[in-house]
Amino acid sequence: MATSKPRVKVPKTASAGETVVIKTLISHEMESGQRKDKDGNVIPRKIINRFTCEFNGQPVFSCDIDPAISANPYFEFSAKVPESGTFKFTWVDDDGSTYTDEQKIEVK
């Protein structure tokens, strides 16, 4: 897949202080840098090396990613929602590009 496209699933609403489950998936080949092409040349490493999630600017979840993670990395985690706001998701590619997505959640 040529361009990486994130998919994120966050509930639209929550009650104050509720813990919600967040699911994220991004399309990415996660080329490990260990493989060789037909001519025996090493295929350069190209992976997503970092994933972060913030809520209203506050860090919620982050991790470094290494080459053993398979294609199309999927992360599922939970977060406590104190107030209405926006979750911001960022994936950092080896080539320097970043892929982002934002999801609003309303506290009722």
């Binding site: 998919r7 998936l25 080949e29 294609a71 199309n72």
Partner: protein, 284 residues
């Protein structure tokens, strides 16, 4: 002395063999995708070697089964999304997209995934979704046909078949010469081939439910294709899987969409009659 040791080894092997068989039975579970229950066990059609046809989902690990059951976590849904984009993209000299003629795939392609391959009176051969896409591209869009397993071909096929998610597979073998292709496919299915001298039936019929290396042998159903496979981290088309299986028997691989494999597609799809379309299924 040596003979006794060998006999003891054989006994151990026999015991572990039977233990494996017991552990290898398909699970008893329900597959619900987006609140829709899939038919993963169905009474076999007349003339079928099994009494019950079973989805390959029943033979996979718990984690793999859970990934398919969650349409968000299923990485095959990325191909569905990509396919939807292609469906709406204008290509070729006629300035058309798939949607220009077929509008909303959710309506127009609702039963396509459950009823292909069909008889194609123009080529006087069975036609599958991949070849129907190519036919449309050449005849109606003025575009190039896809190369076998081009990412676009796999994504668009996945998207089209996904519109039939949950629908039971049913082929029309009465149209045209489908029956004779079915017969040819059946011959191919039971024909032993390759250095290992295996037929499709050696694994998927005679040894169904057992292990071959670390692989739990299913009935080899076609209802979930194209399928997301963890071992390649990508989508696998049916003819790619056919060729992979044939390669593993150390036989010469027929070309994708060759008469041999089209006949096999007709027959193998029929063997899954009554199972829900699961595209994109998730396998290991």
């Amino acid at each position: 002395m040596k003979r006794i040791v060998l006999a003891a080894l054989a006994a151990v092997a026999a015991m572990s063999g039977s233990a494996f068989t017991a552990a290898a039975d398909p699970v008893d579970d329900k597959l619900v995708i987006d609140d829709k229950e899939m038919i993963i066990r169905a009474p076999a059609p007349e003339g079928h070697p099994f009494e019950e046809v079973m989805s390959g989902w029943l033979f996979r690990e718990a984690e793999t089964r859970a990934t398919e059951a969650d349409s968000f976590a299923n990485p095959g849904m990325l191909a569905v999304e990509q396919g939807e984009e292609i469906w709406n993209t204008v290509e070729g000299s006629a300035g058309k997209s798939c949607a220009s003629c077929h509008n909303d795939a959710a309506e127009s392609m609702k039963s396509a995934g459950a009823s292909f391959p069909k008889w194609d009176p123009d080529s006087k051969k069975p036609i599958n979704v991949e070849l129907q896409i190519d036919k449309c591209r050449v005849k109606n869009m003025g575009a190039e046909p896809y190369k076998f397993d081009a990412p676009e071909q796999v994504a668009l096929t996945t998207y089209i078949k996904h519109q039939s998610l949950g629908q039971p597979v049913k082929l029309d073998l009465a149209s045209g010469e489908m029956q004779s292709w079915f017969d040819k496919g059946k011959d191919n299915y039971y024909n032993r081939t390759g250095q290992l001298n295996f037929s499709c039936s050696s694994c998927h019929e005679a040894s169904m439910g057992k292990y071959i290396r670390a692989d739990h042998l299913s009935q080899g159903q076609a209802n979930g294709f194209p399928t997301y496979r963890f071992n390649t981290g990508g989508m696998v088309s049916l003819h790619n899987r056919f060729r992979g299986c044939i390669r593993d028997t150390r036989a010469e691989m027929p070309k994708a969409f060759s008469d041999e494999l089209m006949a096999l597609e007709v027959y193998v799809t029929w063997r899954g009659t009554g199972l829900s379309v699961e595209t994109p299924a998730v396998r290991q």
